[in-house]
Symmetry: C2
DNA sequence: GTTCATGCAAATCGTTTGCACAATG
DNA sequence: CATTGTGCAAACGATTTGCATGAAC
């Protein structure tokens, strides 16, 4: 049986968590890296990834695989819903009440142990809409 | 202004779509490749990715970025909900009614154009539960 | 015939990891 | 001082892409 790993504190890890808790833009790892490079000039991307991974594992951060090529992260652990722009990838928090009965319903029709659920709305954000002037149904024309 | 690209039919593309329409296991690109290699011995992974990408783009397939390292795909285009095993990545369709009022609610509190929504329940599947015998809260012990 | 699709291999890119050294408890 | 964290660079793995050839329209 494996002994529980004991994480120490490090300025880098603390700042990463703090940064992600104080923003609502659901940043990428690279964004975090760019921000903290100002404070830690020798910071490496590997350290950012390593720490984010640990923080997610410890349940202090949420990973959002939003369909893009890279993951995004959320320091807000309360269940809440997101709107995602299919064009630019922007993620915005939604202010609608979480349906508390949903998980209960699902528990009745599956033998999975349900831990949490996630709701994403997909669409196009206002900024991208205005860019796609007389836009039809086809974004990403070639 | 770019002219609309005209896609032709190819046996490979047709079979990829058919395959994904006739399974409910939400396969990876690699799974599709392995299946079709039997029919097309010279098939290449690149072709699978290229076609899946086109089919998703044309709205004939759904991409499911389920948090794992690789994407999964779904030939079922009707809105429906998924349960995802956080341990083995298995994705299972849920048979609960889709909340049709949700998108309407969201449209009222955001200026995104909402096209669709997605609901995922996360947890542990029965198989993984029995593997984690006297399991506590920590999967992926080290 | 022009355009699109294929197989193959090389390239890309987000993320992970091995290593030597510094920092934590 | 035993263990964990860091920076750096190399490794990894899923996906994409350039190219020459073959198929579709």
């Amino acid at each position: 049986m494996a002994r529980k790993k004991r994480y120490r504190t490090s300025p880098q890890r603390e700042r990463i968590l703090e940064l992600l808790r104080n923003t609502d833009i659901h940043p990428t790892a690279d964004w975090v890296y760019e921000q903290l490079k100002k404070e830690f000039p020798k910071l490496s991307l590997g350290t950012v990834y390593r720490n984010i991974r640990i923080l997610v594992q410890e349940g202090l951060l949420q990973r959002i695989p939003a369909g893009s090529t890279f993951d995004r992260f959320d320091g807000n652990l309360k269940t809440h819903y997101h709107v995602i722009c299919d064009q630019c990838g922007k993620i915005v928090d939604l202010d609608i009440p979480v349906d508390e009965t949903l998980e209960k319903k699902v528990r009745q029709c599956t033998d999975f142990t349900i831990l949490r659920h996630r709701v994403e709305f997909h669409g196009i954000c206002p900024e991208c809409q205005s860019k796609t002037k007389k836009g039809g149904l086809k974004w990403q024309e070639d």
